[in-house]
Structures are given as C-alpha cells and as structure tokens.
C-alpha cells in the first residue's frame, strides 16, 4: 500500500469521528466544520467540500447528526448540524476504537499520538 492510498483510507475512516467530535460541544454549519478540521489538524487533513457534504448527508441518514435551517436577523439562512443521541453514542464508541488502535500501533511501531 502506497503512502497516498494509506492516507486516503485513513482520511475516509476518520472523517466521521472528526465531524462528530466537532459537533460534540455545539451546533455548527458545514463551512465551519470544514474550517475547523483544517485548522485543528494544522492542514494535515483537508476536505474537498464535495466529500464533506455527502458525508454529512450520509451521517444524517444514519441518524448520527441532524441538520436544521436557522435564520438570524440580518444574516442568510444557515443549515446547522447537531449531534443526535445516536451520534453521541457513535462518537464514544469510535473514540474507543481509535484509542485502542493507536495504543496498539504505538506499542508495535512506536508512534505517539497526541
């Protein structure tokens, strides 16, 4: 497996946990989610918005998140996403899985995760 394809696979698998984690403390709209992922990962992970929105919609279908239109005076209508109880559960379990994975990885390959 080449370096590129590994990164791609990792990215695909981690997208969901990133989104769930970002929605954990408050509701956010799509652009904000994309920005935050870029900022917090120090640009190591970046998104094609093309893949962000289909991911959001897919997660919404699976009842992990929930989108709703919010109108504020003087602003354009924005679609905010929030975590559903199922999403919260999924986040907890994914965290667990990643944690175990990284710990194992670290023990074998001596990679430290933050």
């Amino acid at each position: 497996m080449g370096m590129d394809s590994l990164a791609r696979e990792l990215k695909r698998g981690s997208t969901e946990i990133l989104i769930l984690a970002l929605l954990e403390d408050r509701d956010r709209h799509g652009y904000e989610i994309a920005q935050l992922i870029e900022q917090r990962s120090e640009k190591a992970i970046s998104f094609h918005v093309a893949s962000l929105y289909p991911t959001l919609y897919r997660m919404e279908d699976r009842d992990l998140i929930e989108g709703r239109w919010v109108e504020k005076p003087g602003q354009r209508r924005r679609r905010y996403y929030r975590l559903t109880p199922a999403g919260r559960k999924a986040l907890a379990s994914q965290r667990n899985v990643w944690d175990t994975f990284f710990r194992g990885l670290n023990r074998v390959a001596r990679i430290r995760h933050a």
Partner: protein, 899 residues
C-alpha cells in the same frame, strides 16, 4: 454576489438529470458565501476571492451526483426515508416516525388522546349496556322458544296481571301450538328463621315454569306438579351462599317466609332467576280450577311447540280463551269490559327489554353523535396541523414519495394516536362501567349481563380504528393534490399560501357547522327528556311528595298477627303525632306512589229503586291521620276520625273517581259491603266522605276507584306484613328522620324500619329513576358536545385570525374600523353557527319522533325547547367568537404587515 444562482446554474447545466434539491443548493451557496468572506478577510481582492470560490464550485460540479442522491432531510422533524427495502420495514419506519412525532408534540397528542378517551369511553360503556341488555342471549336454555302471553277482553288490558286463570286452564288442557304453559307472579316476603329478617322478592310459579324456562337445580330438586300447594321453597344461589354459607345440608331445612315455614328443596343458579335477579327464589303457585265468578290474574309464559310460530300460538290462545267459562262480572271488573278474549304473544327477549329498548337505542345514537363530534374535532386539529406540515410533506413528495406513501404515513400517525386513544378510552369505559352498575335503577332489566366482554373490546377497537382512519385520512386527502412549487415557495405570506390556508379553514368551518348541528340535536333531546322528567317530578299527584316523609316498617309473622300489627301501628302513629315538629302522622296499607294493592268486585245496593251497581274498587286501610298527612282534602262530607271505632257505625271514605263513576251527584250515605275485608266482617259501611284523587303519574294505569276504611273499625286487622307510615312535618322533613326512627324503636324494640325518606326521594329511586337516568345521561352528552363545539369554533376562528393577520392589518391600514374587523370575524363564526343550528333544528324535528314515547306532558315539538336550544347554542358561539374578534380588532396595522 448571488451564489445560489451561480451554483444552481453550475450544477444543473452539465446534466439532463433532475435538478438538485433547493436545500442542497442553498447550503452550498452558504458555504460559497462564507468562503468568499473569509478570502476577502484574508486580504484577497474581489476577483481573487471569486476565483477561489469558482474553483470550489467547479469541484462540486464533479461531485454533483453524490450531492444529488444524498440530500434527504430538510426540516427538523425528519420524515422517514421515501423508499425502503421492504414494505414491512418501511411500515416500521412510519410507526417509529409517528411515535417520535407524538413524543415531540405531547400537547397535541394529549389533546387527541383525551378527546378520544371521552368519546370512545362513553360510547363503549353505552355499547356494553346495550349489548348486555339487548344483544346477549338470554340465560334460559329454552329462551328462543319462550313467548310471554297477554290477554285482553274486547281490546282492553287487565288492570293487574296479564293473563286470567280461565284462559290459562282452557289452553293448558288442550294445546297444539305450545309444549307447555306456566303461570307466575312476583311476591315479596319477609324472610326469617335464618339471621336478620329481610324483605326479599320471590317468584311464585307453577311447576311448569321450570320446564318452560329450562331451569335446572344446582343442587336438590324443583317443584313437581303435585307440589304446587305444598309449603316448599327453592332458593337462589346467592341467597343460599349469604344465609347458609353454601352448605348443601340446607336441603330439607325450613325457612320462614312471612312467618310460614317452608322446606328448602333446591338451589338454582342466579343467572336463571326469573324475571330478573331481584327475585331471590321460587315458591310454588297453583292455578285454581274455575269456581263461580272466581278469576285469578297472573303473568304467563309458554314454550312454542317445534314448528309453531308465535302468531299461531296467539291464534290458538285466543280460540281456547273464547271457549273458556264466562266469568262475566269479575271480567268486567278486571278488564273494564267483557268483550271477546284476545291473546297476544311476544318473544321473551323482546318482552323483557321492551321498556328499555327504545331509550337505550336513543342513548346509543346520542353517544355516537358525541363520538362523531369528538372525531371531527380531532380531524379539524389535524387539518390545522397539516397546513403547518405542508412543506415537510411537499419536500417528501418532491423527493419521490408517492402520494400513497404520504397518505400511508398520515394514516399510520392517525392509527398510532388512535391506538393510544383507544387504550385511554377503554380505561374510561372500565371506570364508567364500574359506575354504571350503581347508577342503573335496581329494576333495570338484565343489569347482570352488562360486562366489558370481548364484544365490547372488539367494538372499542373497531370504533377507534374507524375514528383514527377518519382523522388520519381526511388531512391526507385534503393534501393529496399538493402543489409542490407552491408549498415550497410558500413562506406563509404569499397570496397562494393564504388561499390554501383559508381552504383548510373552510374545511374546518364546515366541520364546526356539522358539530353545531349535532350539538343542537343532542341539546334538543336533552331538553325534551329533562323537561319531561321535571314535569313528571312536579306533576299534580294530588299531594306534594317533597313535604311528606315515608317509612316502611316490616312486621313479619309469627311474632305479629294481623291484630297485633294494627295495635303496633296505632302505638307508633300516636307516638309520632305527639312528637314536636310532626304536624300529622298517618298509616296506609298502600303507599300512594303506584297503583298497587288488590281490587275487589262488589255490588252497591240499589238506590231510589234503580239497579244494583257492579263496582270494582281498591280497598285501603288507613288511619285517620292519613289524609292530612298526605295533604289530601275532603271534597264532600267528612274525613275519618278518631270517633270512628269498633263500636260506632262503620264508615268509609271514597275517592273522587269512585264517586264520579258509581255514585253520581249524591255520594254520601250509600252503603258499601264490608265483606271485602273477610275475617267475619259483615254488614255495610256508610260512605261519609269523598276525598281528592291520588294520581299515579307515569303509570299506564289511571286512578282507580278507591275506598278508605279506618284501621279502628277493621277488626280483621292488617293482612299486609309491611306498614307504610306517612309523616308531615312542621319543619324540613329531612331533619325529622332520626327522631322518627327512634320513636318507632321506642314503640316496639323488635321493629327494624326501612329507609326514612320523603315521598319525592322514593319516587326518584323507583318510578322516576329511569326517566331521570335518561335525562341526566343525554344532558351530559349534550353539555360535552356543547363545550367541544364551542372550543372547536374558538380554535378555528383564532386560527383564521392568525392566518389572516396580514390581510386584516392591510384592511386596517386601508381604513377599516375596528368594528369592521370584529364584524368580519363574527360574521364568519356566527354564520357557521346559524347554518349549524338551522340544520340541527331540522334534524331534531325529524329525530325527536323517536323519543315521543319517552316524553311525559311535553310535546316532541315543544316550543320552549326549540327557542331555548338555538339561544344557548348561539350564545356559546358568540362567546367563542369574542376573543378572536377582539384579537382582530386589536391588531396594530404596521406590526401586522411586518409580521
């Protein structure tokens, strides 16, 4: 910069595939806008920033298919996915979705469930009563073949009993259409010898009664034909368990009925008690062979022979009766005529429930109307809600949901709410059902057959299903021709939105109109029955029942013989008369509430050379205090008084009917034979006075000629084992009750007087119990209907005012006065009410024909009702209009237009 238009153009240009969902485009536009703002904030020029966004849009263009297929959810309450792998799983989704919806809008769900609980609960309860009384098979195994017999002479019915011994015997000897014929009559005894003395009702019947009804003993045996004159008794199971703890050794033991020892030979199940479970056992009865003018009257039943019809039996009975011995004079007395014998037959189930069939059906129809109002109220609420959900449904339709799918979802929602409502309704029915037993009059037929059984459960489920289908389907059908573009474009302010919403409002107003009409019908019915009941209560009986206390005192043998009973009665009356607060106290052998007691045939000696007069009159034994205690005035001559004693000239007072019918204008001085009292009474009593009639209101029997003899002159004593005392008080009669009870106890410690109550209360618990029940029930239904309708009208008007806020604001801005705005709302509300009232009145005029037979002294077209009901309805409608109208008047034009 209009990102929305650019994105729409970019993403739909390339393909011929259907356009992207507007929500997706909007979201991407939001993203593009934020990106542009960010780039500008980072110091890029307009062109640089635009280029960056354009690059992003170009990428989206590539991924357009992924975006197109994923966007499904557009509003906070997510409807279930449009397509699904299997019908079952999509149904599960629908149910889950509906449950979530219910959970999220608990107030709406609660309102629906409570409304349904009342409607379904009341209907199920009434259905259980109707089903138990009218539909369930009778407990007697032969019931289908049993007919109840009635005899008439020249078309006139007997004054008491239904069948004569002559017709009975003639038919019994020679019968071809019936297998068996039986005679019976209800009797009341005082049971002694086992525990506390108790008044109980029993059925005196011929041995054939058991065969006709197919009754089998639980233990022991029943009477044989040869036993009909023996002192035997068969007890009901419940009496046996109460008094003998269900001990089988009871067989052969002796109990005393009115002081006469009878041997217990068997026990029968309670279910087969005849005519109902108030009868606690059976005693034998013998129909005597004809002797002279003797005629006994009783009730009769027969079993039809296989293949014979009730009509054939009636024809045969008539023929046998005509061939029977003639008892001319007695017949005259009992039937009021001596025309040809006529025998009619009626199936047992019909005869037992004839009195309650009509009222029950009327009440069931009334409660169904109530359910209809409740249902339509829910439908109206659903309609209002459907308008607000129109966008949701439109989006689902746009995403490919077929209308069948959308309708199914709405129906599933309806059914889920309906199921919850049904459950609550059943709980209400269960509670009402427990109440019903206590509320139904004691003599209501087949009370014990009323149960919340499988039939009632099935009825509850079916009616809830129908109800929820209606309120689930109606909004769905209203929205069937949903215009997608219009719905999506509708922001609540566009003219098309108003049009659609007011169409919904029109549907709701139509529903309200129907509700007003139904409420009108129920109110008319309630008013008629209520007024009829009040008339019955306050009818002129010749006395005022609310002012007179009455008490029944059982004086069973063997401790009390007829002479001792009279002596005891005298002692009690004397004691009561001297009590403070008592104005008059009197005794009577027959309570003046129903035309009970025996009647006697006698002849009055000829006067002025005229002919002997055949008289049929009811002899009564009273103490002199009876007339003043009841408040009856003497219209001619004098009353009975204390100077009339055993040693003085025997006297009698007759009622007006007696005087009018037999004595003409000179009633006093005529002599009546004393033989009617038996016990060696001979000679004559002179008529010394005429007293006012007592009228028996609500009874089919009109006032009979009556003769009042004094207790002081009838040495044979008191034959009845129960004495009725009447007390007129100076004060509130209710306050006297306890001192009356202690006075009776002081006079004779052995006595256990019955309940002490005014004659009015006694009427309410007996002959007026059913009319009162019907009136109260129908009034309850009508009041609930009125409230539901009023609230419904209020809701719809408030809703339309809210929907029309902009329009009303515009009108106000254009110079409409407050009054004009009020008029606009009131016209809408009152218009609906008027149409509803008008159609309700028409329907009432047609429907009230069916309650004509339940009315007393009130016409089915009673004008008071037909004036009062519209007045009440329109006032309620006016109140319901008031708040929305005030809201409309109080609109601030500027704020209304801005909203």
């Amino acid at each position: 910069m209009d990102w929305t238009a650019r994105i729409r153009a970019a993403l739909t240009r390339s393909e011929s595939a259907p356009a992207l969902d507007e929500d997706v485009i909007e979201e991407l536009a939001q993203h593009a806008h934020a990106m542009y703002e960010r780039a500008r904030a980072d110091g890029l020029t307009h062109d640089e920033a635009e280029a960056r966004v354009a690059a992003q849009i170009a990428r989206w263009q590539v991924d357009a298919p992924a975006l197109r297929h994923k966007m499904r959810r557009a509003i906070p309450i997510e409807p279930p996915p449009v397509s699904s792998s299997s019908p079952l799983s999509s149904l599960t989704q629908d149910v889950r979705y509906a449950a979530r919806l219910m959970w999220r809008q608990p107030r709406f769900a609660l309102l629906v469930i409570v409304t349904m609980a009342i409607g379904i609960g009341a209907t199920a309860t009434l259905f259980s009563v109707t089903s138990g009384v009218l539909l369930k098979p009778l407990p007697w195994t032969t019931a289908e073949r049993v007919v109840v017999l009635k005899e008439t002479r020249g078309g006139s019915a007997p004054r008491f009993g239904s069948f004569s011994s002559t017709a009975y015997l003639a038919w019994r000897e020679q019968a071809s259409t019936i297998d068996d014929i039986a005679a019976w009559t209800p009797q009341t005894f005082t049971l002694t010898g086992v525990g506390e003395p108790e008044r109980i009702r029993m059925t005196a019947g011929t041995a054939s009664l058991f065969r006709v009804l197919g009754v089998r003993p639980l233990i022991g045996s029943l009477f044989a034909d040869a036993d009909e004159t023996s002192p035997l008794v068969v007890l009901s199971e419940s009496l046996w368990r109460e008094r003998f703890a269900g001990d089988p050794a009871v067989l052969g033991r002796s109990v005393q009925l009115d002081g006469v020892p009878r041997t217990v030979i068997g026990i029968t199940p309670d279910a087969v008690a005849y005519p109902d479970r108030l009868s606690r056992g059976w005693v034998p009865m013998h129909v005597p062979l004809p002797a002279g003018n003797m005629l006994s009257m009783f009730e009769a039943v027969a079993t039809l022979r296989a293949g014979a019809t009730a009509e054939q039996a009636a024809a045969e009975g008539t023929a046998r009766g005509k061939a029977a011995a003639d008892t001319a004079m007695t017949t005259m007395a009992i039937f009021g005529g001596n025309g040809p014998v006529g025998v009619s037959t009626r199936p047992l189930d019909e005869a037992l429930t004839a009195d309650v069939r009509r009222p029950l059906i009327v009440l069931l129809v009334a409660v169904s109307l109530l359910l209809a109002i409740a249902t339509s109220n829910i439908a109206s609420l659903q309609l209002a809600r459907a308008t607000t959900r129109r966008r949701e449904l439109a989006i689902r339709a746009a995403l490919g949901a077929t209308s069948a799918r959308v309708i199914r979802q709405l129906v599933v929602e309806g059914l889920l709410l309906g199921a919850a409502g049904a459950l609550a309704g059943f709980a209400v029915a269960w509670m009402l059902h427990r109440l019903a037993r206590g509320v139904l009059p004691a003599d209501f037929p087949r009370v014990h057959d009323i149960a919340l059984d499988a039939r009632v459960v099935l009825f509850t489920i079916l009616s809830s299903a129908v109800v929820s289908l209606i309120f689930g389907l109606w909004p769905a059908l209203r929205l069937r021709r949903l215009n997608l573009v219009e719905s999506l474009a509708d922001d609540g302010a566009s003219p098309s939105g108003i049009g659609r919403r007011s169409a919904v409002a029109r549907s709701r107003l139509l529903i309200i109109g129907g509700q007003v009409a139904i409420a009108c019908v129920l109110l008319v019915g309630a008013s008629l029955l209520g007024r009829s009941f009040v008339r019955m209560l306050h009818a002129d009986r010749g006395f005022d029942p609310s002012e007179v206390l009455s008490v029944a005192i059982p004086m069973p043998g063997p401790g009390y013989n007829p002479q001792r009973r009279i002596a005891t009665v005298h002692a009690i009356v004397e004691r009561l008369s001297s009590m403070p607060g008592v104005r008059h106290a009197g005794f009577t052998s027959e309570a003046p509430l129903s035309p009970g007691g025996s009647t006697s045939s006698l002849t009055l000696p000829a006067r002025d050379g005229g002919e002997m007069v055949a008289v049929q009159a009811s002899p009564r034994l009273v103490s002199p205090g009876y007339f003043p205690a009841l408040g009856l005035s003497i219209v001619a001559g004098r009353s009975l008084d204390d100077s009339d004693t055993e040693t003085s000239l025997p006297v009698v007072v007759v009622n007006e009917t007696f005087a009018r019918r037999y004595l003409g204008d000179r009633p006093l001085g005529v002599k009546v034979p004393m033989g009617v009292w038996g016990g060696g009474h001979q000679g004559h009593a002179t008529i010394v006075g005429v007293v006012e009639d007592v009228r028996y209101v609500g009874s089919s029997v009109t006032t009979l000629p009556e003769m009042y003899f004094s207790t002081r002159q009838i040495t044979a004593g008191m034959r009845s084992t129960i004495a009725t005392l009447l007390i007129r008080a100076n004060e509130d009669p209710a306050r006297l009750a306890s001192s009356v009870r202690s006075a009776i106890r002081e006079a004779d410690r052995m006595l256990g007087p019955g309940a002490i109550m005014t004659l009015e209360d006694r009427l309410l618990s007996t002959s007026l119990a059913r009319p009162r029940l019907y009136a109260v029930l129908l009034t309850c239904f009508a009041v609930v209907a009125l409230v539901v309708t009023g609230v419904g009208l209020f809701g719809v008007l408030t809703y339309t005012v809210a929907q029309r806020t902009r329009e009303l604001g515009l009108r106000a801005a254009l110079g409409a006065r407050r009054l004009d705005l009020v008029a606009l709302v009131v016209r809408q509300g009152m218009g609906v009410a008027l149409v509803g009232v008008a159609s309700g009145l028409c329907a009432s005029l047609w429907l009230t024909r069916y309650i004509g037979t339940l009315l007393y002294d009130v016409s089915a077209a009673d004008w008071v009702t037909y004036v009062a009901v519209p007045a009440i309805l329109l006032s309620v409608a006016a109140v319901a209009c008031l708040v929305p109208a005030r809201r409309a008047a109080g609109l601030d034009p500027l704020r209304a237009l801005r909203s």
